[in-house]
Symmetry: C2
Subunit: 222 residues, 2 copies
């Protein structure tokens, strides 16, 4: 997942994927500083928060236009806005959630959309039991209506919120309906054209990695 | 997250982190083959499923003891079992979920634990509204009882199932209670000693990466 992202990032922007991978953390740090009404931050302080060196901070941020001033530090608000722009957070992408089950409900009420500037516009499902029910303030729509919905509203992202193997079929449906980005929570490897951007959240893989690392630690102790 | 994992994997096992990162995908492919009652698989067929080359498959698997036979291919069951062992899937780690809200409910009923050989033993929360209620078949226990619970049952992993900033405090509580692995769904950077293994699922970051990549694709079109 990370490797695909890094390869794509390198191809698309020319910026080192290692730097790109750090941007969400910069964003989180700066958001936290803004929340504490911090107006300026030195590269040394930002380095402490990011658990890296001041020199790396300066190098990273120079790549994106050098927002700092010698002896003054970084303007937190400006840096936050600039990184938000780079990350596409202020583009107000529209999204729909496909899957109104337990995972869909968690995501529909998750603060991540509002925090990341993505506008959630609807929740869809193909189960007659769920269509018409309420899901975190949304009336669950019939999946058969997705294409029509995407014609009348700007929908950029489909969130595939199922934990079974139906993910590939649902993603195909969403792409056929015109979305350009898939945020995939299903445990399926999606095959999409290069026109479509996919970000997978392979929950299963992260648990496997945790067990693997714990096993390595255990083995060292024996 | 991936970089931390790769660095740790390299330090701990000496095996290339790029190979380690592919293991969960091998595991998933082999599980699918087993589900289709496939007994043997050639490196060419496995390469097709893994979207890589047969030569890379042979190189990867040689690192873990070379399970293939010339002209015969790989015994799917044996390879699956071996990779499960390497990943620590058959170690039957015990886990508790901390946070019995919507995310905790999704995780408590998620097939990932059974599929990955992790035994879920309890769900904890500190909210009086939730303590005593049912969560996917578990009676939600008082978080104040966690340490006592960990003394009487083998609990290796704590799943931090909150979406707010309380993750660090909850992880600290779990570590003080004796768990050695944290599967963290909260948007918090956890600071833990090297004795504790952490795997973060930063949902927010993956949405940011998706928006970033979509923006790159959009910018190319202009």
């Amino acid at each position: 997942m990370q490797q695909d992202f890094e390869r794509d990032a390198r191809r698309q922007s020319g910026v080192s994927p290692v730097v790109v991978a750090r941007l969400p953390r910069y964003y989180r740090c700066l958001r936290e500083l803004l929340g504490r009404d911090v107006l300026r931050v030195s590269s040394a302080e930002l380095a402490r928060l990011m658990k890296t060196t001041a020199s790396q901070i300066r190098q990273d941020l120079n790549l994106f236009g050098g927002f700092g001033q010698q002896g003054y530090g970084y303007n937190v608000k400006n840096l936050y806005t600039s990184i938000s722009d780079i990350l596409g957070i202020n583009d107000n992408y529209g999204a729909v959630i496909i899957g109104a089950g337990a995972l869909g409900s968690v995501l529909a009420s998750h603060s991540v959309f509002a925090k990341r500037g993505v506008i959630l516009r609807g929740v869809f499902d193909d189960s007659p039991d769920l269509i018409g029910s309420m899901c975190a303030g949304f009336k669950v729509a019939d999946l058969a209506q997705l294409e029509l919905f995407c014609e009348s509203a700007v929908i950029d992202i489909a969130v595939i919120a199922v934990t079974d193997d139906s993910g590939a079929k649902l993603a195909r449906h969403a792409i056929d309906s015109g979305v350009k980005g898939i945020w995939n929570f299903s445990p399926t490897d999606l095959l999409c054209s290069s026109e479509v951007t996919v970000q997978n959240v392979y929950i299963d893989d992260t648990l496997m990695k945790l067990c693997y690392e714990m096993k390595q630690t255990d083995d060292k102790k024996i």
